[in-house]
């Protein structure tokens, strides 16, 4: 078993679509796929075209690059332009527009930016450039945050003194709760599978039990997503609001305890700003004072340029599920993956990029 093709079976998908139709009847139901990788999967396999019209799928704030606000992009650019610093980050960040430029353009203008695949590569970069300061721009949600924490522990273990981290990591359940106070009706959440690998399906209990909104943790292959939708529609039909787990092959109730342990050792909760949503209490991860010597913002403070938002870009509204990418006047015209105006068009899992690629 390769755990991929088996979950792309057309017959199984067709069976699920019929069950969704049956359970849905003529109810109008809106479900939010929180994770950008789900958005990508839904677009790639054309799942919306298989589903009844009275079932809406809304894209949520689940793309780390997209929710990173301009001031943090500007901060990364300021580091790239600082003498003696190499800014290391994941590839998705390179083309994200900040207030006036991108990391890639900053590099062309003489800045130093290195794309890494893994945080361990950033630590190696520090080892092989002892005369430079390596600043890793650590964006990401719960699957990535432990890898950033592990890089700090690795630098500590190896006695590396020129490795620093900007912690821009975020956690997903707080914005899910925040969106429930907003203007969009959400009848159920398709919960992010790989975030849940780390935090466990139990992490959504408050949303299901206190806010009374059904939650189903889902995998990323087409039958995974369809099965999760089927489970959610049945919960809505039956008037239940529970946490169910479709992705049992990797997600446990308690999550990955070792990964969470490493994350908790290095990080502590802090308030964080999300593009389009604003500041959400406790939704970010800051570096604990005990690891302050690896904290770029403490050790190497820089002053980024004044933040300017592009007022014509509706990325913020797309991230809240208020608007769809195709509602934007710039979509596919001025704004395309080769020349993105807003963050949602940059990352492959940004809603705008996913809609554009599979339109």
């Amino acid at each position: 078993m390769k755990f991929v093709e088996e979950f792309r079976d057309k017959e199984l998908a067709a069976g699920l679509v019929r069950r969704i139709e049956e359970a849905l009847g003529d109810r109008r139901v809106s479900l939010m796929e929180v994770c950008g990788t789900h958005t990508m999967s839904i677009q790639r396999y054309g799942l919306k075209s298989l589903l009844p019209k009275n079932l809406r799928l809304l894209s949520g704030p689940g793309c780390p690059v997209c929710v990173t606000p301009n001031e943090q992009v500007d901060l990364a650019i300021a580091y790239a332009m600082t003498e003696g610093v190499i800014l290391a980050t994941f590839g998705d960040m390179a083309k994200v527009p900040g207030s006036s430029t991108t990391l890639l353009k900053a590099k062309a203008a003489g800045g130093r930016m290195q794309i890494v695949y893994s945080t361990m590569d950033a630590v190696k970069l520090a080892e092989s450039n002892p005369d430079k300061k390596i600043v890793f721009f650590g964006i990401g949600f719960e699957p990535t945050a432990p890898t950033v924490a592990a890089s700090i522990l690795e630098a500590e273990r190896k006695g590396i003194s020129n490795y620093f981290v900007v912690s821009a990591a975020k956690v997903v359940p707080p914005p899910m709760e925040a969106l429930l106070q907003g203007e969009v009706q959400i009848d159920g959440f398709i919960c992010p599978g790989h975030v849940s690998v780390v935090i466990g399906s139990g992490a959504y209990r408050k949303i299901a039990e206190v806010h009374r909104v059904p939650c189903v943790v889902a995998g990323f292959e087409p039958t995974d997503v369809l099965q999760a939708i089927e489970m959610l529609v049945r919960q809505v039909r039956d008037g239940r609001s529970e946490v169910e787990n479709q992705y049992t092959r990797v997600v446990h109730e308690e999550g990955n305890v070792a990964a969470r342990g490493i994350m908790d050792r290095v990080f502590e909760p802090r308030d964080a700003k999300w593009r389009g949503i604003g500041v959400i209490p406790g939704s970010g991860l800051g570096i604990r004072p005990g690891y302050a010597r690896f904290n770029a913002e403490v050790q190497l403070p820089v002053v980024p340029e004044k933040t300017v938002e592009n007022e014509r870009c509706i990325c913020g509204l797309v991230l809240k599920g208020v608007k769809e990418p195709t509602d934007c006047a710039l979509f596919g015209k001025e704004c395309a993956p080769e020349n993105p105006v807003g963050a949602c068009m940059v990352s492959g899992e940004g809603a705008c990029a996913a809609y554009y690629k599979y339109r």
Partner: protein, 77 residues
């Protein structure tokens, strides 16, 4: 960014190991999955193994979907 790929762990040496898929081999960190064993299928995210894939659970999901599809067909006939 939260993409993770199922790969087979073919070597493990302390905090690092090697994974393979379709002949492509990569180094992987095992710090987040210290009890991973050679032969396990693991989910790999940004150079780290983040979880072991449970084959029994995968089979159960597929079995359930097959039964649901068959039951649906029988109902419609």
């Amino acid at each position: 960014m939260c993409l993770a790929i199922p790969m087979k762990l073919i070597e493990a040496d302390g905090p690092f190991g090697k994974v393979e898929i379709e002949g492509v081999k990569r180094k992987v960190s095992l710090q987040l999955l210290p009890d991973a064993e050679v032969g396990d299928y693991v989910l790999v995210h940004a150079g780290f193994a983040i979880e072991r894939i449970n084959e029994e659970e995968a089979k159960k999901t597929l079995q359930l979907l097959t039964e649901l599809a068959l039951a649906q067909e029988a109902e419609e006939q």
